[in-house]
């Protein structure tokens, strides 16, 4: 779970550079707001920061040693001067902030330094946020706050203005891919998941989801049918597609998958074989790539993107798919 400075630096180079400089120049702010998508390492970096501050013998003056008592205790959540507040149910309640304030009215257990982290700070109730405000405004010497959120715009502006905001960049697909493989996801499938989402947990969910595996098959089949016998495509739509992709979101996912096939074909034609994401279908795709032109592929991709746009404009899904299939066949004779 815990990651070293170096591992996290790979993940969020800018953030760690900022933190390093503030630590080395002893200009650590009293309150930070970490803002970034899920899975971008906010919590890990929060705990890393805690270790930087509490570590007994930091390496090069800032890196936590990970071996001293304080580092170990922070990793195990046992340090008495570090407080973690997480949503109790759906939101962070006023009582939780009160408890935190009570805690901070007292002297530290071991040192003069105290640190608190609020995960999902956007989920604070208005009351809780207002209680926290007073507390952020008049920090005791030696206390530090780390707020974390996925949606900074949902936080009270009065709180935002009192924090140093640190933006976390979304994970690069390659990085996510690596993480997924580490989590035991099939290396053949990982690139696909990484392309579809930026979110590690969501990607992991895809990998364990039957619906998703099925969806992938249907999409590939649709492409094949389009290739082989264009007349059958409409039938396939009725037989497989509509039964499986019911919700708007599901259709959106299906279109994403569909788009990735065309993207792969284009990559194959361009010779960028390392970019291919549908690894399990690779050999077949390589064959198909020979039978089409780059220009045509781009046209088809444009059609899919257009369909995606129309989907969000609430077009009837059946008409939408049928129109798309017809468009994709354009050029080939309808007899």
């Amino acid at each position: 779970m815990t990651k070293s400075w170096e591992e996290l630096e790979e993940l969020q180079p800018t953030v760690l550079k900022m933190l390093r400089n503030s630590l080395l120049k002893e200009r650590v702010a009293h309150a930070y707001l970490y803002e970034g998508m899920r899975g971008t390492g906010k919590k890990e970096i929060g705990s890393l920061m805690a270790k930087c501050i509490f570590c007994l013998s930091p390496i090069e003056g800032y890196k936590p040693c990970e071996t001293c008592l304080n580092c170990k205790r922070i990793n195990n959540g046992n340090h008495p001067d570090i407080h973690l507040v997480e949503p109790d149910g759906l939101s962070i309640k006023k009582a939780q902030i009160h408890a935190l304030q009570g805690e901070f009215a007292k002297t530290g257990v071991e040192s003069k330094k105290k640190l608190y982290m609020i995960v999902h700070a956007d989920r604070m109730t208005t009351n809780a946020a207002n209680s926290l405000l007073k507390f952020l405004e008049e920090p005791h010497p030696g206390t530090m706050a780390i707020l974390m959120t996925e949606q900074a715009q949902q936080i009270l502006p009065t709180i935002l203005s009192r924090c140093q905001i640190i933006g976390f960049t979304p994970l690069s697909p390659k990085n996510l891919e690596k993480q997924l493989v580490e989590q035991g996801v099939n290396p053949e499938a990982a690139p696909l998941f990484a392309q579809l989402t930026n979110n590690f947990e969501e990607a992991l969910e895809f990998s364990q989801n039957d619906w998703f595996a099925q969806a992938q098959k249907i999409v590939v089949k649709l492409y094949e049918v389009l290739k082989k016998n264009s007349l059958e495509a409409m039938v396939t739509l009725q037989e497989n597609w509509f039964g499986h992709f019911k919700e708007k979101e599901q259709i959106d996912r299906g279109l994403d998958l569909f788009l990735l096939i065309f993207k792969d074909l284009l990559y194959i034609q361009l010779g960028k074989n390392d970019q291919i994401v549908n690894l399990s279908e690779r050999s077949r795709l390589e064959q198909y790539a020979l039978q089409t032109t780059g220009r045509r592929l781009t046209e088809q991709m444009a059609a899919i993107l257009e369909a995606k746009r129309k989907l969000h404009a609430n077009m009837n899904p059946q008409l939408l798919m049928e129109e798309l299939v017809l468009k994709l066949q354009e050029g080939s004779s309808l007899v």
Binding site: N76, A105, V109
Partner: protein
């Protein structure tokens, strides 16, 4: 770690330290009791991070061997289970043995428990005590000090500093002050120490209440050590640590009026009972206010009037009423709290006008003082 211990001593210690352990804690290790075995004996520690209690069981006491240390070491065991286990063990001796790393075996007679321990290194570190800063007071005095002040601390969290009792040590005198900004309790005590260290700390009221619970009524001395973050109360085998409140305590010296316009001396019990009776009707209304007025001669009148319920009037004979005539209203609850805290059969109440705070103190005793702010009604 391995040692054999008399169960009764262990049980007593476990019960003492359990007072500091709560199940509601965000720090997992604090659900445990730390057990440290050294050549001198066994130390148990329980903590909820606000207060920590350490209990020491010596190896030998009164020429009787209590603990047989076979190997020194330390472990943290789940408090909930450990205390239950110790209580229900079959024989009078217990063997506690930490096998490979954290696996702990508790043996007594023919029963054997295996408990998964936690690493003792992870347990919060309590401050190291330096004996120089210590001052000593007898246990019974300490308990009285706490009893007479702690009731007046604020329960509201808006000003956290007022939820504590201000302890000041100056010129070998200890002054304890508690206030919730409507009333104030002050108690002084002379210290018999030669050390003339100066301290000014605020101890959370809750910690003092807990402390007073675990102290027994003896005249034995308690060592009190003030460190940067914590205060330590040390009895023979028990160490009680409490965190302090951060911030500066408001200056209360100016609140206590110097001049007096009306002085009333009255029997404590009679007065208390009269207030209690008057508050019976006042209690229904939210403010719980009783009226106090001097009447001709040496008597006073306590009354309360709640129009929807009824009213009560009572006249009390006093020892003396000196100075101006006065009508004043105050909270019956605050008055009763104050009267209960005072010692001595006669008290003197000094007023400086109906809108000014008044002071209650036992007759001829400067060590204790209670101050109450009146309520504006007349």
């Amino acid at each position: 770690m391995r040692f054999v211990i008399q169960r009764d001593y262990l049980l007593q210690s476990v019960q003492d330290v359990m007072k500091a352990v709560t199940s509601r804690t965000t720090i997992p290790i604090l659900t445990g009791i730390k057990i440290v075995a050294t050549e001198d004996g066994v130390t148990l520690t329980g903590s909820d991070s606000d207060i920590s209690i350490e209990s020491f069981i010596p190896r030998v006491e009164d020429d009787k061997e209590i603990v047989e240390i076979k190997q020194t070491g330390a472990i943290v065991l789940q408090a909930k289970f450990f205390s239950e286990i110790v209580r229900k063990l079959p024989t009078s001796t217990v063997e506690i043995d930490v096998e490979n790393h954290l696996q702990t075996v508790i043996r007594s007679g023919k029963s054997e428990f295996n408990l998964n321990g936690l690493d003792a290194e992870e347990y919060p570190h309590l401050p190291q005590i330096s004996e120089e800063n210590a001052f000593r007071i007898p246990t019974d005095l300490l308990k009285a000090l706490i009893r007479q002040t702690v009731f007046a601390v604020s329960t509201s969290e808006t000003r956290p500093i007022l939820t504590g009792v201000n302890w000041k040590v100056e010129n070998s005198e200890l002054i304890c002050i508690a206030t919730d900004s409507h009333r104030l309790a002050l108690r002084k005590a002379r210290l018999e120490t030669e050390a003339d260290g100066k301290h000014n700390v605020v101890i959370p009221g809750k910690s003092l209440t807990e402390l007073s619970k675990i102290l027994d009524d003896t005249a034995a001395m308690v060592d009190i050590v003030v460190t940067e973050n914590q205060v330590l109360f040390k009895t023979k085998h028990l160490l009680f640590f409490s965190r302090l409140l951060e911030g500066n305590y408001p200056d209360t010296a100016r609140l206590i009026p110097n001049e007096r316009k009306t002085d009333v001396v009255v029997n404590t019990k009679e007065f208390l009972h009269a207030i209690d009776r008057a508050s019976l009707l006042a209690r229904e209304g939210k403010n719980n206010v009783v009226k106090f007025s001097t009447i001709d001669g040496n008597s006073i009148e306590i009354s309360s009037n709640t129009p929807e319920i009824g009213k009560v009037v009572e006249e009390i004979q006093t020892q003396s009423v000196e100075g101006e005539e006065l009508k004043i209203s105050f909270s019956a609850k605050y008055m009763m709290d104050a009267l209960k805290a005072l010692e001595g059969s006669e008290i003197q109440i000094s007023f400086t006008g109906a809108m000014r705070p008044f002071v209650i103190r036992p007759l001829n005793d400067e060590a204790i003082l209670q101050l109450i702010l009146p309520v504006r009604t007349y």
